[in-house]
Symmetry: none
DNA sequence: TATGAATGAGCTTTCATTCAT
DNA sequence: AATGAATGAAAGCTCATTCAT
């Protein structure tokens, strides 16, 4: 099973139900959407790359946009998965005494995920500005549920006196900026440069902790 | 003269040479490209919005992509203008004894610019992933010239002992992440929310200075 | 099966592989190209005449020029077919003791062919001046291979003392001029006049033989 | 005065009345029409080549087709000029005792004319099939007046016993085929080959005389 | 289920022509 | 007389989608 396949298997929990052809369609679509954008990718191109007839795409996905959604929706779900597990707060209390540990864990975990799903991530952030439907989903799930959860976390560590007194939303913003700034620079803007990932992530965390922690 | 016009006047210094119709075309294109993306915007739509015949667009811009470039290239130039002025380093030495002052000045200045040119900024960041030509220009001008300049600045303040010892590129990365993170959150992700801009910028700078300065 | 269909069947030996629609497109294109010329014929016009959607044309022929080539190339091949059969010289030796017999046979045969394919012939001679690609094909196939073959024939009959001593190329030229002059006058310049074809062809051959033969 | 200019001067008797710009337009049109055909040549292309504004063309020629006609009509007139002079028969009686002399004179004269006006000739024969208006003019002037005149000439020499008894139209046809066959081969099909023009014309006449004369 | 020919609306672009300057 | 910006119809071509097989 190829890396590509694994990504798709992982993306669709019910991947068993996907035809072989369907998997090929999805794989081809991901590749093209990431590279040229949704609007600039033609269904005939996807069909050719997937080695199926054009009609086959529309048998499985009523419209081209449906195909996009079939890719993007589970990607967003997976992306936020760690934050929506039940008993998230318990996990938090038990596992991470310090904010730094929490941040480290979450960064490591999410970077690993994104690294393995970079094309999917590309599609999500590239298409969100253009697809109102997508933007809606994003706002509903991320901006509301996730931010709410993150707020609790921040307040949790603020109560513990581990991070500075600042509106939680501001802290979330600068934290996410820093993390996504790293991912975008590392994997999208300058992927061909030599990166010492471990060191660079450490530095990023160091900056973040410096910026957010009280004592120094 | 409308706000729109002013933006365009400012964008093309030689705006005098633009026909009235040409300005309308550019304004319409900016609006549509920002909203729906380059690929999903049709020239007929631009023509209609601009109140000109479709042929008129192609009299001035040989292709649809030419029109995009005519918009994006000067935008990128304006965006980086403050960093390419002659005697930049002198200005630096004389005007800003502290890194914080420098950062404050530059943030204030660039945020003001972007706020007035948000649609242009949108187009630039939205289309860079899809237009290899654009990516090339971006890399050549921004990634190389500007980064080089910023490196010198960072080293300058590091030598002065005002910011932590870390590879300049890393410092640049986290700094830009923080700044653009603010702009994107403020103007693209949640523009309709109430923002106390001054306070929020202050906090952002505070975070940045905490993260980068030596003493605390 | 109509006359039109038969012509097309004959033109494309593998006509079985042509869709019904494809045949209609080709027939419509032949009619319009012959009448108004390639450049002055629009694809929408062809589509309408063929009773298909315009898109259908482009499904089968990537470009309008491809459609022209699909018509012209096999026409040129058919036109020169009698001269490229294997053992052409043997045929010559056995069947035609006299140049006059040979000329008669070839004229009769080719005139018959052209009469049945006049629109195709029109397209070929009308478009050759404008399509460099076509001119290339024409030169390569006709001007080189065929002329070479004709040269041998002329020399053969010259050796037999049946036609005058003159450079073979000159003899070929005046012969072809005479034959095509007849066809063009008969079928293109004055098709509506009353022609006694048999007599006129006889006279043409008589002139040709007078002009080329030694004895009188 | 360039060769180009001379051709145009000669083409329009009232060339004095042509603006400098007009001459340039005509020259540019001739070049492009000959090369790519009327339908495939755009007026903007002509304007550019002529170094004038597009509007200027339409100031002088109401439509693109008018421009074509302004070129083609006088060309056809010039081409047939020698046959329409008054007292043509007198000239004939006095100057040419033998058909061969007449043929020689006329061939020499017309070939010289065509050689100097090859682009014009190209345009005429290339556009006649496509422009009904042109075809009409051609038929009216050439096919009727000229053929009538040629008929008289042929009958004149037939009466003198110098050419074979054959319907004059047939004799005209084979004669013109032979002459134009030479011109087309020489100047249009294989202009880049080495031609010994004098010898080749001699041979052509020899063939023609052989074909048409009684005695041998 | 899968195909791929067929569709027709819509795309970018070109063009002959007009007209205010 | 000459310009060239402007036009809008029409060009060649692409596309997402349908449907008979």
């Amino acid at each position: 099973m190829s890396q590509q396949d694994k990504m798709i298997e992982e993306l669709f929990h019910n991947a068993d139900e996907l035809t072989e052809k369907q998997k090929k369609i999805v794989a081809a679509a991901i590749e093209s959407f990431a590279e040229k954008g949704f609007a600039a990718t033609s269904t005939s191109e996807i069909a050719k790359k997937a080695g199926v007839a054009e009609g086959t795409i529309f048998r499985h996905y009523k419209t081209k946009k449906d195909l996009l959604m079939a890719i993007v929706a589970p990607t967003m779900a997976k992306l936020i998965a760690p934050f929506v597990i039940k008993d998230f707060n318990k996990v938090l209390n038990h596992d991470f005494d310090h904010f730094e540990d929490f941040i480290k864990a979450i960064i490591e975990n999410r970077i690993k995920f994104l690294k393995n799903n970079m094309s999917l991530f590309r599609i999500v952030i590239q298409e969100i500005p253009f697809q109102p439907e997508l933007r809606e989903q994003f706002k509903e799930h991320i901006a509301q549920k996730i931010i709410e959860r993150l707020r609790q976390i921040v307040e949790h560590y603020q109560a513990k006196g581990q991070i500075i007194e600042m509106p939680p939303d501001t802290i979330i913003r600068v934290t996410l900026s820093t993390i996504f700034g790293y991912i975008i620079a590392r994997y999208l803007l300058a992927p061909e440069e030599e990166w010492d990932d471990n060191t660079e992530i450490e530095r990023t965390i160091q900056f973040l902790m410096n910026g957010l922690s009280l004592e120094k």
